[in-house]
């Protein structure tokens, strides 16, 4: 155990930090905002491509995919530097983090060239077709069918919660290719271009407001998809679904940790100097959340240290649950500490970075609402607790 990194890791930090200082977008030119999670303004596309070209987009990747084969602690300082500056690598996070990553890991050379690299270089926007109306927490229950017909799949069914689909060029869709196989066998991953006939995208607004439209329902009506768009093996989609995040899986906690730090920082800067900053009831809750943020960072670091030693860490199971619940709590505390001032949705906390993507999520009330995305999607907090109990503590299913 030690507090500080070795000098090689710190040198890596300095190199990246210097690169950022030189290459960050000029705020004067970076004025256009994205309007969905698959919409990337030109200035951001250029920045992402530059990161790719200089090997700073996904440091863990080899150079041909925009990286430099970085180690775990190098990745950590990389994210620390991004977080410190509020830099967003990509406004199409599912494209970069899941769709692109899946194709890099499981796709063939042609798919990598035609899809993965364009997605990573922000030339192509991607969406992820996973959830269905009756397969939310129970993903293995998905029913979108893909029947084989000669050299094509014929896809029918519906996806939902497909972020940014209306702005996306392609969807990586998980579909059932063997209806007779047990639940999580018989699933395959298909690349479906969104302009293929039979694909209908219906964006809908989320709870934060009628004009905040990122989610889509996506309907597939006998959509014919060429067989070459199959990613990985037929009926091997479950493995892709679980393996998509392999490259940066060890870093997933960073998102929760940095999000929490940012919210806390903004809340504390609002609190400072007000009467509430001397209210023991508020301080009691602030102290809890500061400790939450610190423990999240520590447990994330411990996970990395274990992986570095070749061990299989269990920390991951609690990090998402802790992070998402703490984020919701900070926002709620801010709403409560503001009192009736929180009724006024014109009040926008925090400073705005050039990468700030969405004013809808930054009033404290909307951040509270947005917090539920964390406790619901990607496995609800209830399911996280089941997983901890069963997989970590060994309780019977």
């Amino acid at each position: 155990m030690r507090l500080h990194n070795d000098s090689a890791t710190e040198a890596f930090r300095t190199e990246f930090s210097d690169w950022l200082d030189e290459n960050l977008p000029d705020p004067a030119e970076a004025t256009e905002r994205p309007h969905s999670s698959a919409d990337t303004p030109a200035w951001a596309r250029a920045f992402q491509a530059k990161m790719f070209d200089d090997g700073w987009l996904v440091p863990a990747y080899p150079p041909e995919f925009g990286g430099r084969n970085a180690g775990l602690f190098e990745q950590l300082v990389y994210f620390e530097e991004l977080g410190r500056r509020d830099v967003t690598r990509s406004f199409n996070p599912q494209g970069l983090g899941i769709v692109g990553a899946s194709i890099v890991s499981f796709g063939n050379d042609q798919q990598k060239r035609d899809y993965a690299i364009p997605i990573l270089r922000a030339e192509m926007m991607a969406a992820l077709g996973m959830s269905e109306p009756n397969a939310g927490s129970d993903l293995a229950g998905l029913t979108t069918r893909a029947a084989i017909d000669g050299d094509e799949f014929v896809v029918s069914g519906q996806k939902v919660w497909t972020s940014g689909a209306h702005d996306a060029d392609m969807i990586l869709a998980f579909v059932r290719t063997d209806p007779d196989a047990p639940k999580h066998k018989g699933i395959s991953a298909l690349i479906i271009d969104t302009d293929t006939p039979g694909v209908t995208r219906r964006p809908f607004a989320d709870i934060t407001g009628p004009d905040h439209t990122d989610f889509n329902e996506v309907f597939f009506d006998d959509v014919r998809v060429p067989r070459k768009n199959l990613v990985g093996e037929l009926n091997d989609g479950w493995r892709i679904c679980n393996g998509a995040l392999a490259h940066e899986r060890a870093m997933l906690w960073i998102m929760w940790s940095q999000g929490l730090d940012k919210m806390l920082r903004e809340f504390l800067s609002e609190l400072r100097g007000t009467a509430k900053a001397d209210d023991p009831v508020v301080l009691d809750k602030v102290g809890k959340l500061v400790a939450d943020a610190q423990s999240l960072r520590l447990l994330g670091n411990r996970q990395l240290a274990k992986q570095q030693r070749g061990l299989v860490p269990a920390e991951q199971s609690i990090l998402k649950m802790m992070g998402s619940e703490a984020q919701r709590e900070v926002a709620l505390l801010a709403v409560e500490a503001l009192g009736p001032a929180a009724l006024d949705q014109r009040r926008v906390p925090g400073h705005s970075s050039v990468f700030a993507s969405d004013k809808h999520v930054v009033t404290w009330f909307n951040r509270y609402l947005f917090g539920f995305a964390g406790t619901i999607s990607g496995g609800t907090s209830e399911i996280q607790r089941n997983i901890i109990a069963e997989r970590v503590l060994g309780l019977p299913r």
Binding site: S131, N134, G136, S137, D138, G141, V160, W161, F204, A205, D206, I207, T208, G209, P210, H212, F215, A275, V281, R328, L332, V335, E336, L338, G339, P340, A341, A342, L343, D344, Q345, R346, F365, L369, F372, A373, T375, I376, S377, T380, S381, E382, R385
Partner: protein
């Protein structure tokens, strides 16, 4: 005590519920939330004489007790009814009734009872509480006029009410003066709940005739009593809203299937709903107790009002949070009605002091005076 509604009261409850089911469906609330108006609903309420429910018959009201008002308010909360009812009846009229001289009351209360005037009540100046020691808005006499100065904040319906009962200091006394909204500078919020819009009011330079100054002498106690009424009204309305969230969740938990069973068969969901049910029942009991204390002029009204507001606050916290969590993604959409209830419940918590402040008030009053 007899702590259950009488047959007449149950009948009133059914009537109100039926009227609101007809006149105030979720679609109306959604329309208002997306920018529409609800004028017809208010016209209906006026035609039913509900604005004057607790106003004495001699002032043109129906003369019912605060318990009947609580029944109506719970149903209003359950339907997330928009419009001027809450501010006019439970804030403006309460302030007037508590503070005004008989002569003034006989002017203002019939206007409320007939629906001719809508009102608001302006107390807070930024602390976000019900506490009167923060009042620094001032009135000074200038011949036959009063001249006002200062700012009022977070006034419910402050941007729309006809008349506003404003708490001010005059010669070191706390007083209430009724000011036409049109005479004030108004800054309305972009609200989290478009069915209950708050506003800040700029009093500076506002000039009104001196007969709009209510009552005689310091009105601190009367204002406190009026605020207690406002607290109970928010509480019982929140109970209705939470009751509806609970119903929606129970219904969904019975229908929605995951892992091949209804999600309501999972213990995690059951226990959340059981706790929501308990919190709703607890807040309802404390709210009706407070209403009963108001109805009978019981000395426990102040502590009861804060217990009700605290319990309603705890209840909304659980019902909004777990209520949304149980719905999962579906509840996270704008299209689903759940957020209409969630927003209203949260507005109640954020006005006139939150649960923690009222719990502390309950504790202080109890330590000073023994258990309620």
């Amino acid at each position: 005590m007899d702590f259950e509604l009488t047959d007449d009261q149950l009948e009133l409850q059914r009537t109100v519920r039926d009227v609101l089911a007809q006149e105030c469906p979720p679609d109306l609330v959604r329309a208002v939330t997306e920018g529409g108006a609800a004028d017809e609903l208010w016209d209906t309420l006026v035609s039913l004489d509900w604005p004057g429910l607790t106003i004495a018959t001699e002032h043109g009201g129906t003369g019912y007790s605060w318990v009947e008002l609580a029944i109506v308010l719970e149903e209003f909360g359950r339907a997330v009814a928009p419009g001027p009812f809450l501010a006019t009846v439970t804030q403006f009229a309460s302030a007037v009734r508590a503070v005004a001289t008989p002569h003034q009351a006989s002017h203002w209360l019939p206007l409320v009872a007939s629906g001719a005037v809508t009102g608001a009540f302006a107390v807070d100046e930024g602390a976000g509480t019900w506490l009167l020691d923060g009042v620094s808005a001032a009135a000074t006499c200038d011949g036959e006029d009063l001249v006002l100065a200062g700012t009022k904040r977070y006034v419910l319906d402050g941007a729309t009410a006809d008349e506003i009962a404003v708490v001010v200091r005059l010669d070191a006394q706390l007083r209430v003066v009724v000011v036409p909204r049109s005479a004030l500078g108004v800054d309305a919020f972009a609200p989290i709940d478009a069915t209950s819009v708050h506003a800040d009011l700029d009093l500076d330079g506002c000039r009104v005739p001196v007969d709009r100054l209510l009552g005689e002498g310091d009105a601190t106690e009367a204002i406190s009593a009026a605020i207690d009424e406002a607290l109970v009204a928010i509480s019982v309305s929140t109970v209705g809203t939470c009751q509806r969230i609970l119903e929606l969740d129970v219904e969904y938990a019975k229908e929605r299937r995951q892992f091949d069973v209804p999600i309501g068969s999972f213990q995690a969901v059951k226990h959340k709903l059981a706790d929501m049910y308990r919190d709703v029942e607890r807040a309802r009991a404390l709210s009706y107790f407070a209403a009963l204390c108001l109805a009978e002029g019981d000395s426990r009204a102040a502590v009861a009002a804060s217990m009700a507001k605290a319990a309603a606050g705890e209840c909304q916290q659980r019902c909004t949070q777990d209520g949304l969590q149980i719905f999962g993604g579906i509840g996270y959409t704008w299209e689903h009605d759940l957020h209409l209830y969630l927003r209203r419940a949260k507005v109640g918590e954020l006005t006139f002091g939150g649960a923690s402040q009222h719990r502390q008030r309950v504790a202080r009053l109890t330590l000073a005076g023994g258990l309620a």
